[in-house]
C-alpha cells in the first residue's frame, strides 16, 4: 500500500478546498473590483457631467477667451508652443504671471467657487475646467478647483492624448471614465464632460479626478479577509470531513482489517472461549460498512464450519493414509525379503524383488521349501490395484503356499486354489499366477501357469530364452477349471527368470513400453551373473528406460539359479511334523510318517519297531487320557538323521508327567500283575533318553533313540 486511505482522503480534500478557495477568492475579488470600478466611473462621469451643466456658460466663454488669448499671444511671441520641458522655475513664474490677471476676474472667481463647492460636495480630488486646443495639441487649464497646493494655474497645459485627438476633431468630446494609478497621485478615476453653449458647440471640458486610494486599500483588506475566511472555513471543513470519515469509515475499516488479520491467530488462542475477534466486532454505522461487517461475520461462521469439516475430512484422510501405509508395509513384509534367503543351502541361489508403485498393488512373489529337497517359487499378479487387490493377493498367496505340499501335483494345487478363490471373489478380481517346484536332488522342475507371463530359462551356454508353456486360465476367473502341470529338467548352472507385466509394461515419458525385446537383451548380457546381479541389471535398465516418468505398476522379478544337485547323504536327514486329532485311529498315520523318515535314514528294524511301539504307547496314552472327557490334538515331530531319532509329542491336555510313574513290578505272577504303566515302562526301557516338560500349557514329551544298526 503506497498511501493509506486516510492520507489519500486528506490529500484529495486539501486539493479540493484549495482549488475551491482560490477560485472563490479570485471570483469574489474580481466581482468586487469590477463593481467598484464601475461605480466610480459612473460617479466620476456624473460629477463631470453635472459640473459641465452647472457652470455658467458665459463665464466659461469669458475665461476661456482670456486664457486662450494670452496663450495664443505667448505662442505667437515665442513663434510656436513654448518648450515647457526646458522651463526653469523662473520661466514658469514669468509664464504664470502673464495669466495672473485672469484669477482676479469675477467670472473666474465665480467659477472657482462653484467648482470648489462641487468638489467638496462630491468628495472629489480635483475638479477643473479645461480647453482642448486642437491647433497646438494642448489641454489648457481654465479653472482648477483642486485641493490647495495641487491646483494648476490658468494657462497651465498638458499634452493632448493622441488617442483623443482624432475623436475630438470629429467634435465628439464624450470620453469614457478611466482609472489610473500614478505614483504621484495614487489611484484615480478620471472622467470628463464637454461644456457646450446654446448652439451645441464645445467651449470647454469639465474634468474630474476621484481618488480611489481608499477604496483600493479596502479592496486589499477585502482580499486578505476573504482569503483568511476561506482558509479557515476550508481547514474546518477538512478537519470535519476527516473526523467524520475517520469515525464513519476508517475506524470501522481498521477494526475489520485487524479482526480479519487476526482470524487465524485468534482462532488458535480462543479455541476454548469460542469468541473470535470477528465475532466481537461491533460496527453499527447503518450503511455499507455494517453490511460488510455482517458479511464478514457470516463468512467467518461459514469458514469455521468449512474448516471443521475440512479438519475432520483431513484427519480421516490421514488416518486412512496411515492405515494404507501400514497395509502396504504388512503386504511387503509378507513376501520373503531377507537375502540370502537360505544361506545354508548350496544347491541353489535365489533373489527376488518387488518395486511397488505408489498405491498398494496386487503383485507378489513367493518362494519356500516344500520339504528338504523341494523348492517352490510363485509369481503372481492380482488384477486391479489398491486395497481389494492387496487383500486378494494375501488370500491367493496363502492358499497357494498352503496347498503346495510334498508330492502334490501342481495342476491339482491350482485347481483347488482356483475353486477356493472363486468362492471368495465377490469383486470379480482374478489372478495370473505361475508356480514352479524344483526338485533339488534331480533338477526336475514342475510348473503350472495360470495366465501368467512365461518364464525365461537360461540353459548353460544357450543364454536366456522365453520358455513357451501353455498357459491355463487365470485363477479366480471361473470355477472348476482344470490346470495341468508341466515339467522340465534343469541342469546345474541353469537359471529361471520370472516376472510380472510391470516389467515389460514399464512406460517412459514418450509413452513407449519397455517390452520383452529389451528384457531379453539385458538378460542375455548378464547370463553369467548371480540372480541378485541379474535383477539389479534388469532394474537398472528399466530405470534408465523409464527416466523421470511415473511408475504405474509394481515391478516384480524373481531369479533362481540351480547351482548343484543335492548330495545323497543330505537326503536322508530330515524333520517331519504331523498334527492330528488325538484319537487311537490316527496312530497308524503318525507311525507311517515316522517310519518313512526312519527308513529314509537307514534305521534298523529293531530300533524302528521299538520307536513304533513308543509312538503307539505315547499317542495311545494321549488319545485315551489327555483330554478326557473332551477331545484335542496331538503333534508329533520327528527329527531324524542317520545316527539318531528324536521324537517329540506335544498335547494341550491335562498336565501329566509319565516319567514320574512308578515302574510296575515285573516279577509278579499273572494273577497279581497290574496292567497300568506298562506302556510308559516299555518306552523308558527301550529308548535311550526320555524327557518331559510342561510349558505354555503343553505337555512336551521327548524320546531319543540311537538308530545306528
Amino acid at each position: 500500500m503506497k498511501m493509506s486511505l486516510r492520507t489519500k482522503a486528506i490529500f484529495v480534500i486539501l486539493v479540493f478546498t484549495l482549488v475551491l478557495s482560490v477560485s472563490t477568492v479570485l471570483v469574489s475579488y474580481n466581482t468586487y473590483t469590477k463593481s467598484f470600478n464601475e461605480h466610480y466611473e459612473t460617479l466620476a462621469a456624473s460629477v463631470a457631467k453635472s459640473t459641465a451643466s452647472v457652470v455658467d456658460v458665459e463665464q466659461v466663454k469669458k475665461v476661456k477667451a482670456e486664457v486662450l488669448g494670452v496663450y495664443s499671444q505667448i505662442c505667437e511671441e515665442n513663434g510656436g508652443v513654448p518648450d515647457y520641458e526646458a522651463f526653469s522655475d523662473d520661466d514658469w513664474e514669468n509664464y504664470y504671471e502673464q495669466f495672473e490677471y485672469i484669477t482676479q476676474m469675477p467670472e473666474y472667481k465665480s467659477l472657482l467657487e462653484v467648482l470648489s463647492k462641487l468638489r467638496e460636495d462630491n468628495n472629489v480630488v480635483s475638479l477643473y475646467l479645461g480647453y482642448s486646443d486642437l491647433d497646438t495639441m494642448k489641454d489648457l487649464y481654465l479653472v482648477d478647483a483642486s485641493a490647495e497646493g495641487e491646483s494648476c494655474y490658468p494657462g497651465d497645459c498638458d499634452d493632448m492624448k493622441e488617442e483623443h485627438i482624432a475623436q475630438m476633431k470629429q467634435g465628439n468630446y464624450e470620453f469614457p471614465a478611466f482609472i489610473t494609478n500614478y505614483e504621484e497621485y495614487g489611484w484615480l478615476c478620471s472622467a470628463s464632460a464637454p461644456v457646450m453653449d446654446k448652439d451645441g458647440s464645445v467651449i470647454g471640458v469639465a474634468l474630474v479626478d476621484i481618488s480611489m486610494n481608499e477604496i483600493m486599500a479596502d479592496r486589499r483588506s477585502f482580499l486578505y479577509t476573504l482569503a483568511a475566511i476561506t482558509i479557515i472555513i476550508s481547514l474546518i471543513t477538512v478537519l470535519l470531513v476527516f473526523f467524520l470519515m475517520n469515525r464513519a469509515m476508517l475506524k470501522p475499516i481498521n477494526k475489520l482489517s485487524k479482526a480479519a488479520s487476526l482470524f487465524v491467530s485468534s482462532k488458535k488462542d480462543n479455541t476454548e472461549t469460542g469468541e473470535s475477534e470477528i465475532s466481537r466486532l461491533y460496527i453499527k454505522t447503518g450503511e455499507e460498512l455494517e453490511k460488510l461487517s455482517g458479511s464478514i461475520k457470516q463468512m467467518e461462521k461459514d469458514l469455521n464450519t468449512y474448516i471443521g469439516e475440512l479438519t475432520s475430512i483431513t484427519a480421516e484422510k490421514e488416518r486412512i493414509g496411515a492405515e494404507l501405509d501400514v497395509a502396504k508395509h504388512i503386504q511387503s513384509s509378507m513376501l520373503p525379503c531377507i537375502f540370502p534367503a537360505f544361506p545354508d543351502r548350496m544347491e541353489f541361489d535365489i533373489y527376488a524383488s518387488m518395486t511397488t508403485a505408489k498405491e498398494v498393488g496386487g503383485d507378489f512373489y513367493d518362494f519356500f521349501m516344500v520339504d528338504e529337497r523341494h523348492l517352490a517359487i510363485v509369481m503372481a499378479d492380482v488384477s486391479g490395484k489398491g486395497v481389494p487387490a492387496a487383500l486378494f493377493m494375501v488370500i491367493a498367496k496363502t492358499l497357494i503356499k498352503d496347498h503346495t505340499q510334498e508330492d502334490r501335483d501342481l495342476g491339482k494345487v491350482f485347481t483347488e486354489v482356483n475353486n477356493l478363490l472363486c468362492e471368495s471373489n465377490s469383486e470379480g478380481l482374478f489372478v495370473t499366477a505361475f508356480e514352479g517346484v524344483l526338485d533339488l536332488a534331480t533338477g526336475e522342475f514342475n510348473f503350472v501357469n495360470a495366465g501368467h507371463e512365461i518364464p525365461y530359462i537360461c540353459k548353460k551356454n544357450e543364454g536366456f530364452k522365453p520358455y513357451k508353456i501353455k498357459a491355463g486360465f487365470v485363477l479366480a476367473g471361473m470355477e472348476d477349471m482344470k490346470y495341468k502341470a508341466g515339467c522340465l529338467t534343469l541342469e546345474e548352472g541353469d537359471k529361471i527368470f520370472q516376472y510380472t507385466d510391470g516389467v515389460t509394461e514399464a512406460t517412459n515419458a514418450a509413452n513407449e513400453l519397455y517390452g520383452s525385446e529389451r528384457l531379453n537383451n539385458i538378460l542375455n548380457l548378464n547370463t553369467d551373473k548371480t540372480p541378485f546381479e541379474i535383477l539389479q541389471a534388469v532394474k537398472g535398465d528399466i530405470d534408465r528406460f523409464v527416466g523421470e516418468a511415473d511408475q504405474f505398476d509394481d515391478i516384480t522379478m524373481l531369479c533362481l539359479e540351480f547351482k548343484s544337485k543335492m548330495a545323497a547323504d543330505e537326503l536322508k536327514s530330515g524333520c517331519v511334523e504331523i498334527t492330528v486329532d488325538a484319537v487311537t485311529e490316527n496312530i497308524s498315520a503318525v507311525t507311517e510318517l515316522v517310519n518313512n523318515i526312519l527308513e529314509e535314514n537307514g534305521c534298523g528294524i529293531k530300533a524302528k519297531t521299538q520307536i513304533d511301539i513308543a509312538v503307539d504307547e505315547i499317542v495311545g496314552n494321549i488319545a485315551n487320557y489327555a483330554y478326557v472327557p473332551d477331545a484335542g490334538k496331538v503333534t508329533v515331530r520327528a527329527d531324524v538323521d542317520e545316527k539318531c531319532a528324536v521324537l517329540t509329542f506335544i498335547d494341550n491336555g491335562i498336565p501329566y508327567n509319565p516319567i514320574e510313574n512308578l515302574d510296575p513290578d515285573t516279577t509278579l505272577s499273572a494273577e497279581e500283575r497290574q496292567i497300568g504303566g506298562l506302556g510308559i515302562f516299555m518306552v523308558k526301557k527301550t529308548m535311550d533318553e526320555v524327557s518331559y516338560e510342561y510349558r505354555d500349557g503343553q505337555n512336551i514329551f521327548t524320546i531319543k533313540k540311537n538308530i545306528i544298526c
Binding site: T584, E585, I587, S588, I605, K606, T609, Q610, D612, I613, D616, E617, V619, G620, A623, P664, D665, T666, T667, L668, S669, A670, E671, R673, I675, L678, G679, F681, M682, K685, T686
Partner: protein, 98 residues
C-alpha cells in the same frame, strides 16, 4: 492286523499278522472273548507279528489269566523284538513261550 483262528477240538491256534497295538488290540480282545470258553489249549503263533505294545500285553495277560483256570496257553515263534518286550516287561516269566 490279521487274525486267523484254527480250532482243533479244544485246541485253538491263533495266527497274528501285523501289529498288535493300541488300535488292533481291542479286535483280538473281542475275538478271544467269543471263542475262549471251553478251550483247553490256546496257542498264539507270532511268526508274522511285527510287534506288540502294552495294549497287546494287556490282552495277552487277560488271556493268560483265563487259561490258567481252564487249561494252558502257549506262544510260539516269537521274534527277538517281541521277546525283548516280554523280557523287559517281565512277561517272559508269566507266559509260556516256545
Amino acid at each position: 492286523m490279521n487274525i486267523q483262528k484254527e480250532l482243533n477240538g479244544t485246541n485253538l491256534t491263533i495266527n497274528l499278522e501285523g501289529r498288535l497295538d493300541t488300535t488292533t488290540a481291542p479286535q483280538l480282545e473281542a475275538e478271544l472273548k467269543s471263542d475262549i470258553s471251553g478251550i483247553e489249549k490256546l496257542i498264539f503263533d507270532f511268526a508274522d507279528l511285527e510287534y506288540l505294545s502294552s495294549a497287546g500285553l494287556r490282552v495277552l495277560l487277560a488271556a493268560q489269566k483265563v487259561m490258567n483256570k481252564q487249561g494252558s496257553m502257549v506262544i510260539k515263534n516269537v521274534n527277538s523284538t517281541i521277546m525283548d518286550i516280554f523280557e523287559v516287561t517281565g512277561f517272559s516269566g508269566i507266559l509260556t513261550i516256545e
